[in-house]
Amino acid sequence: MLRFLTRRSLGAAFILLIVAAVTFFLFFAVPGDPARLACGKVCPPETLAQARHNLGLDQPIFVQFVEWFFGIFAGREYEGLGHCPAPCLGYSFVNREPVFSTIVDRLPVTISLTIGSAIIFLIFGVGTGIIAALKQGKPLDKIASISSLIGASVQIYFIGTLAMYFLVFQWQVIERPRYVPITEDPIGWAYGLMLPWVVLAIIFTANYTRMTRSTMVEQLGEDYVRTARAKGMSARTVVLRFALRGTLTPIATIFGIDLAGLIGGAIITETTFSLQGIGRLSIQSVNNSDLPMLMATVLLAAAAIVVLNVIVDALYAVIDPRVRLS
């Protein structure tokens, strides 16, 4: 296992380096001069040059990238702003705050959104999937398939806005979603994020129901499930300990991908419910040509994908002993 982890994390680091490099160099291909935003309405040439220097944009692009890269590991010395500690992702072009602290500040919102919706769509998705598989062909199976089909086809910005319109404005059933740190008020935290969780979950549940249902139907036909029943195991044990075990692998695969997507910042959800998470931050960094912030958000999203890939692959070996970590 250790050998597998080291080899895969090396691969992951390599991929992250490439993603960072591509983003960095592509940034300078975007028309428009970020320094211009850091200079007043009337901006004589010398002041513009000064602003460009303050942002470090006057150095060759490659040098900037190398400095940025080593900044992450060894920290970096900034003229006038002092030392930026080890995981230094640079200072934002807009508010000259260390990017790392802004990311750390916005991450809880995205993490809460991710965890909350993940719990819901896992439980409901897999749950309905199992029931649909067990009650195959019965009315319950039909309802589960229909709702999962519609759920998979619905768009967040449509269903999210509808939920806001009817639940928050028309019937005032629930207050407008907002983020309250879990440390301060756990109930407030759950209440504030309930609507986004449910909306996000509706879309993801659909995939999990369909996936679980089809894999579970296959598993129930497996010989070893029949053996389990022949051994006198109760129906519940047969389903949960044997049949479900077989469905975990495909579920883990799509869960890894979905989770990575959510951690990278659910841009549309956060915009629809105006939650200040990583998604919104990444959009702001694009609009403000804020290179350090953009690099941080892209890297976070890419890291989430890559790390979760490694975790899911390791998980395969845990779920299915036949899988050897090649």
């Binding site: 768009q155 806005t161 509808l162 958000t297």
Partner: protein
């Protein structure tokens, strides 16, 4: 170890004909697939809906002529009796009337029905083009990686890994201007197709990796099969092997993936327009209707309902069709 084999023996006089059905008739996989598909009602209904959408997209100008309106004229602004002073339709339900079947757009006052009809054109065209491009690249790269193996396979594998690690939505938003800037010629007007091509290129760049990886897997397993080795033994050229041996076996996964890909691309095109990097005015586009809808929904919910329901039906129909095609093609896979 008695193997019930079929042998004709002399005293066959009193054999009763085999009880079950007529003599089996040989059918090609295509015909088999079509027979199974025809027997599946949901498949047929969804196929009809999808055809309806395609027909509407193709016949949009005809519909516009019959309906008497077009998606570009700002009716609400030209005629004062349609919008109130805040730019919202006067009549309830988003200004639905005998003249404007689906009502009019707040602000500019364009006809919603025509916007929807022409919107299908935009979404379907881009999604179709992107699907074809993605599938083609996916097939080529997948087969090359799977069949050739060795260093190229390793290299392609790494490229796929890197591509799948990019946060695609954020990337498209950030770097759409780059692609646009490359293609724009300073003097003439920014053509409509420019934005569409940029979208297609981006959607394809981030789309093909998944399919390529899947096909590579299939090719790897197919390559080991006897009939491929047999072909090699007979001295078949690699090209012949790929086209005559491998490709026919890959049609099923390819078709299954592309039927999944098309609705997904329609939704991502709409999402990109919703985020402001998709098609620009005045090309009618569902995503942009959503964006406008979410701006005015508190005062005019009906305007948001139309693109919402239309896209929902569109994608459900496609998903259903995809399910039925998959089922007809490969009944073993129980959804």
């Amino acid at each position: 170890m008695t193997i019930p084999s079929e042998t004709t023996s002399e005293p066959a006089a009193a054999i009763a004909p085999v009880a079950s059905g007529g003599a089996p008739v040989g059918r090609s996989p295509g015909q088999l697939m079509w027979r199974r598909f025809r027997r599946d009602p949901t498949g047929m209904i969804s196929a009809v809906i999808v055809l309806f959408f395609i027909l509407v997209a193709v016949a949009a100008p005809l519909i516009s002529m019959l309906y008497g309106k077009d998606p570009y004229t700002t009716y609400g602004q030209d005629r004062p009796d349609l919008l109130n002073e805040f730019g919202f339709p006067l009549l309830p339900n988003g200004g639905i009337s005998s003249e404007f079947w689906f009502g009019i757009e707040p602000g500019l006052g364009r006809d919603v029905f025509m916007q929807l009809v022409y919107g299908i054109r935009t979404s379907l065209l881009i999604a179709l083009a992107a699907t074809i491009a993605t599938t083609l690249i996916g097939i080529v790269v997948g087969i090359v990686a799977g069949y050739v193996g060795g260093r190229t396979d390793y290299f392609i594998g790494r490229v796929i890994d890197v591509l799948l690690s990019f946060p695609s939505t954020l990337f498209i938003i950030a770097f759409m201007p780059v692609l646009e800037n490359l293609m724009v010629k300073p003097d003439e007007e920014t053509p409509v197709w420019l934005r569409a091509t940029a979208l297609i290129i981006f959607l394809t760049v981030f789309g093909w990796a998944g399919l390529a990886r899947l096909l590579r897997g299939n090719v790897l397993s197919l390559r080991e099969r006897e009939f491929v080795e047999a072909a090699k033994v007979t001295g078949a050229s690699p090209a012949r092997i790929v086209f005559k041996e491998l490709l026919p076996n890959l049609w099923t996964p390819i078709l299954i993936q592309s039927t999944l890909l098309l609705p997904a691309l329609v939704t991502s095109e709409a999402a990109l327009s919703f985020l402001g990097v998709g098609m620009i005015e005045p090309t009618p586009d569902w995503g942009r209707m959503f964006l406008r809808g979410t701006e005015v929904y508190t005062d005019d919910i009906t305007y948001l309902m139309f693109p919402g329901i239309a896209l929902l039906i569109f994608v459900v129909a496609f998903n259903l069709l995809g399910d039925s095609v998959r089922d007809a093609f490969d009944p073993k896979i129980r959804r």
